[in-house]
Amino acid sequence: MKPAAFSYHRARDVDGASELLSQLGGDAKLVAGGQSLVPMMNFRLARPRHLVDIARLDELSHITPDGAGLRIGALTTHHTVETAKARLGGGFAVLSDAMSWVGHVPIRSMGTVGGSLAHADATAEWCLLAVLLDATVTVRGPDRAERTIDAADLFLGFYTTTVEPDEILTEVIFPRPAPHAALTEFAQRHGDFATVAAAVDLDLDGGTVRGGRVALGGVAPVPVRVSAAEEVLRRGGPAGPELFAECATAAASAIDPPADADGSAEYRTNLARTLVTRACEEAAHR
């Protein structure tokens, strides 16, 4: 279908975009890569009266190592992250590798990191990575007011975040390297939205697990950390099938996933168990 009519505004910088959002009020939406918003507009699921185009704001397109962590500008494309693996180094290779799960080449070449986080799809790879790795996002509001939001506080529900309508998500910060992390998922066809996605970040000491984080997407309205599975990792043990199976079983027991056309709750639970095991194995082999 064709989208409903709207007015178009092109921002020159973040302050300009922020001003436009304030002036235009609640019926304005930001557009960057447009890979989620434009399909919704073409389906008329979204009918913004105003679009504020921020795609040209070069100040938001960067990948910057920051001490032990990494800052990624909101307008950095998935493809840029995917091809920056050598530059990111082992500590953040998980980000590059996860990009192969994001749609397809043409989607990754246009879609942006910040757009994906702000769109907050329950199965989105960036949302899952942010929750897994304790990322924070920076948002800019009217009068240049800047604040940071922890990923744990960012997602409220389906497609809903704590970013206010007149705020702009400008950057995501991954605070520490995750050399033994992996993301994996299952979809009916490669490139589709995941039915279930799992991500694991292990604290490894040689061949021994000393702790770790486990996050799942597609099992709740927002990506979730699974503390029962993390408890298994915290008790620790040799990085191998026994521990990983226990971790995966704990994760599967802890969730209460929805049922829809892509799978029943039981099917999703089984997927979660399999995918957590796989993610543990991949993470341990890094």
Partner: protein, 180 residues
């Protein structure tokens, strides 16, 4: 909200001025305003890939971009590749490998492959297979498309002086009707 915007689109190296409403998608502007009907329209929500063109060298869905957003970008459509009399090497490979039957998806696959091979000239067959999974073809079963792209890639690698990277058509080779 029905305001018209005057934009300049750079398509296949040529600048075009046009008046569009904000909601005019890039693919509709290419087809209806610039009469470059080589780019096809399928699903209009980014799934089928029939409208794939190159935006600043990278494959992108022309249905997921508004014409007003495309100003200042280097846009390339299938018309830039070759003509019926003189197809480029990728188009010849598609023909030789029977990588099309009805042809509806072909412009999208050609531009997807052009963009992909430009950035990944040494792509393996498995990587090509993954790349072409971006677009839908309901005739071929994809095998012949993978073979065509792979064959074109290896020929380009063997002849780096003439065909590596982007193939540039001669001016005037384009037989698609232009706006009056």
């Amino acid at each position: 909200m029905t305001d018209q915007y005057l934009v300049t689109l750079t398509v296949n190296g040529e600048d075009h001025e046009l008046l569009v409403t904000a909601r005019r998608t890039l693919v509709d502007a290419l087809r209806h305003d610039l009469h470059l009907t080589g780019t096809h329209v399928g699903c209009e929500h980014g799934v089928c890939g029939a409208c794939t063109i190159l935006v600043d060298g990278a494959p992108a869905r022309a249905c997921l971009m508004f014409a007003v957003q495309a100003e200042g970008r280097d846009l390339r459509t299938v018309e830039s590749l070759g003509s019926p009399d003189s197809p480029n090497d990728l188009q010849r490979a598609f023909s030789e490998h029977h990588a099309l039957q009805c042809g509806f998806c072909t412009p999208g696959f050609l531009m997807l492959a052009e963009g992909f091979l430009a950035s990944r000239p040494r792509a393996t067959k498995a990587e090509i297979r993954e790349a072409v999974s971006a677009n839908l073809c309901r005739c071929t079963g994809y095998q012949t498309i993978v073979e065509a792209v792979d064959d074109c890639a290896s020929r380009r690698r063997c002849a780096p002086d003439t065909t590596e990277g982007e193939a540039t058509p001669e001016p005037g080779q384009n037989d698609t009707p232009r706006p009056a």
